[in-house]
């Protein structure tokens, strides 16, 4: 177990180095000279030179790369170019709102998706099944934007069930008052693809021999689905959830933008709009590390759940 962990952590190093080089090439080379932008229209050459020196972009590229590597390793990405706020601080304060929205989304969409997929798998092959699948395809072809625009208009503006947008300092109020409408949007959008996917997982399990055995001993179809199929289909389902887990931390960019939620996703969008490179770099690298750690955690959990897999 320990050796497995050490080897996997060791393997992360080249990937992390690659991510750093990719981000570095993107922002320090493709991105152009940041000083020109920061100095603005009245670009006094001396001032531009000063800014370049303060950012370290007048150094040779290997020094810049070393500086970036040090930033990553110490988790100190300096300050935002736009607001001069410490990037580390941006992270810590924006993560809360993002999770307030995304965790309920994750739980709701998974539970509802699995239950509905089981229900559809129950009536597989019928006309109802076919109609639901077509409905799912149509629902998936409408842009996420349209769902948000219409839901915000209908439930927020016309019916007034929820506030159109907003956020407060009180976590409980955020969760109960401001989060429900964005959560509703996200769940509505993700249900169709989830039902399709989870249904196919369930159908795959229904082909297995143990299902035939269960039928032969007289179990009802519902019992087979809930007791046998669900437990086996949970493995691919949880894999799917786990691969999407890193996305939870950046949240949905669109939701946060539409509903003015001060989360990480909106921060990234604003950073892209303002060419605020330190923030984007920091978020990209941190998310990459987080993704790798989550993947490792999932692997460990697999081995805990399935004794056939070994820590080889």
């Amino acid at each position: 177990m320990t050796r497995f962990l050490i080897r996997r952590l060791w393997q992360m190093i080249p990937t992390l180095a690659g991510v750093m080089v990719l981000i570095f090439v993107l922002f320090n080379w493709v991105g152009g000279d940041p000083a020109e932008q920061l100095a603005g229209l009245i670009a006094d050459p001396v001032r531009v030179q000063e800014i370049r020196a303060s950012l370290g972009v007048d150094q040779p590229w290997w020094n810049q790369l070393a500086l970036f590597a040090r930033q990553v390793l110490t988790f100190d990405f300096g300050r935002s170019w736009a607001t001069n706020e410490e990037v580390r601080n941006i992270f810590l304060t924006r993560l809360g709102p993002t999770l307030t929205v995304m965790l309920p989304v994750l739980v709701l969409e998974t539970v509802l998706g699995v239950l509905l997929a089981l229900a559809v798998a129950r009536v597989r092959g019928t006309l109802t099944d076919r109609h639901i699948m077509i409905l799912c395809t149509v629902a998936m072809s409408v842009s996420f934007l349209v769902y948000i625009i219409v839901f915000q208009y209908l439930f927020g503006f016309q019916l007034g069930w929820f506030p159109v947008q907003g956020w407060s300092d009180d976590p409980l109020k955020n969760l109960l008052v401001y989060a429900p409408l964005p959560v509703l949007c996200a769940v509505a959008v993700s249900l169709a693809p989830q039902i399709r996917l989870y249904r196919s997982f369930c159908l795959e399990e229904l082909e297995q021999d143990y299902v035939r055995t269960a039928r032969a001993k007289g179990l009802s179809e519902t019992a087979i689905l809930l007791r046998h199929v669900l437990r086996n289909a949970l493995i691919p389902i949880l894999t799917h959830v786990a691969t999407n887990l890193p996305g939870v931390f950046v949240g949905s960019f669109l939701l946060e933008k539409f509903f003015s939620i001060p989360g990480l996703g909106r921060e990234v969008i604003t950073a892209v709009e303002r060419s605020d490179f330190p923030v984007i770099k920091a978020v990209a690298v941190s998310l990459a590390v987080l993704t790798m750690l989550i993947n490792l955690l999932v692997d460990v959990l697999y081995r805990a759940a399935d004794p056939r897999l070994s820590y080889k």
């Binding site: 080249p14 990937t15 992390l16 690659g18 991510v19 080089v21 990719l22 981000i23 993107l26 922002f27 493709v30 991105g31 152009g32 597989r124 092959g125 395809t137 149509v138 998936m140 072809s141 409408v142 842009s143 996420f144 934007l145 349209v146 625009i149 219409v150 208009y153 503006f157 196919s200 159908l203 795959e204 082909e207 890193p246 996305g247 950046v250 960019f253 669109l254 933008k257 990234v268 969008i269 950073a271 892209v272 709009e273 060419s275 490179f277 984007i280 978020v283 990209a284 998310l287 990459a288 993704t291 790798m292």
Partner: protein, 365 residues
């Protein structure tokens, strides 16, 4: 030698029909697939027509009154609010300068340094002819805030969105297939290197990678294609690589090697035809996801430039319009996108079923 072996296969297509011919036969029996294909083909024709200027060339002309409602729902837009007087540029442009100055209670002629020239400017303004353009009260699909035809915008948006989706998917498929073939066929250090490359690109969540690219590249049609292509190849690479791993030691590849086919020839003229169905299905699937991504990027302002229209920029305008009850642009963009994407998704499913019959039992029953 190579040619001699391939020749009978070409002539005897009826006897030993190829993968694609078999798939086409299966596809032709699938009515849903045929309808979907017809819709996609119609959209592609529309894209070509708009691109060549046959239709929707004047999408940016202001041909109707501001927020002219669709003709089939003329009663829907509240009359009166739909035609603000100041919105017509003719009225705003012809207002005389002195007339506006005379309206002010205090006479500023003494201190106004521009006062002596007002008369001259008025005379010169009178010389210019402002032709009052007849503006339509309704349009088939309504008009936007500036009186531009929403239908023409939707057609032009179709051109941009579909073109971006197709080109980016082609680029991603090309990158993914070539790299996947190379890695899977070569193995060894090439495979290690490309696998490392893959792990780097997949370590960063997809949308964040797209935004990171968007942050350093300016909005533009070519750039958005490059962004989507460069960030979207990983899934295709993975699948193609797996296929090549499977195929590279099969008998027919070894036979080709024995008769002296070079590695390049084995990779591309022997194995590729046998795994191309994977790329084809992926291509189709990526068109759908790239169209969706382009719409979102353009909505955020990181996609097409301001002087072009896409479904994403239409939705961006529609958000504000909906609050004042002008729903037609939202409807036009949503429906034109949903029809295409639904058809394309169904075509993708049908393609997969036709090209890989083994999967059929699992996905459809």
């Amino acid at each position: 030698m190579n040619r001699a072996m391939r020749a009978p296969a070409v002539h005897g297509a009826g006897l030993r029909s190829g993968l694609l011919a078999l798939a086409w036969g299966r596809l032709r029996r699938d009515r849903v697939a045929l309808v979907a294909m017809a819709i996609v083909a119609a959209y592609v024709l529309l894209m070509l027509a708009a691109w060549s200027g046959l239709v929707a060339r004047d999408w940016s002309r202001e041909v109707a009154v501001s927020y002219a409602p669709p003709s089939w729902a003329a009663g829907a837009g509240e009359p009166g609010t739909s035609t603000p007087a100041g919105a017509t540029p003719g009225a705003a442009g012809s207002g005389s300068l002195t007339g506006a100055a005379a309206g002010t209670p205090v006479d500023l002629t003494d201190i106004d340094p521009l006062a002596p020239r007002y008369a001259e400017w008025d005379r010169r303004a009178a010389e210019l002819k402002t032709t009052e353009q007849a503006r339509a009260q309704t349009l088939p699909m309504g008009a936007d805030k500036w009186g531009r035809d929403v239908l023409a915008k939707a057609i032009k948006g179709t051109e941009v969105s579909l073109f971006v989706g197709l080109s980016a998917a082609l680029l991603a498929t090309l990158i993914g297939t070539v790299l996947g073939a190379w890695a899977g066929f070569s193995g060894g250090w090439v495979d290690d290197l490309l696998e490392w490359f893959y792990s780097v690109f997949t370590a960063i969540p997809g949308i964040l990678l797209i935004l990171a690219f968007a942050a350093v590249l300016r909005p533009g049609l070519v750039n958005i294609i490059v962004i989507l292509g460069l960030t979207g190849w990983t899934g295709i690479y993975r699948l193609v690589r797996a296929e090549y791993l499977k195929h590279r030691s099969r008998d027919y590849v070894r036979a080709a090697e024995a008769i002296g086919a070079s590695p390049g020839a084995r990779m591309f003229s022997h194995i590729l035809p046998n795994v191309s169905h994977v790329s084809l299905v992926q291509l189709s699937q990526h068109v759908v996801s790239f169209i969706k991504a382009e719409v979102i990027l353009s909505f955020l302002g990181f996609g097409v430039p301001l002087d072009q229209v896409s479904w994403g920029t239409m939705l961006a305008e529609a958000q504000a319009e909906l609050v004042v009850g002008k729903w037609w642009q939202l409807l036009a963009a949503t429906v034109s996108m949903a029809v295409l994407v639904t058809a394309f998704s169904m075509l993708t499913d049908a393609l997969r079923d036709a090209l890989d019959p083994r999967l059929r039992s699992e996905t459809r029953r």
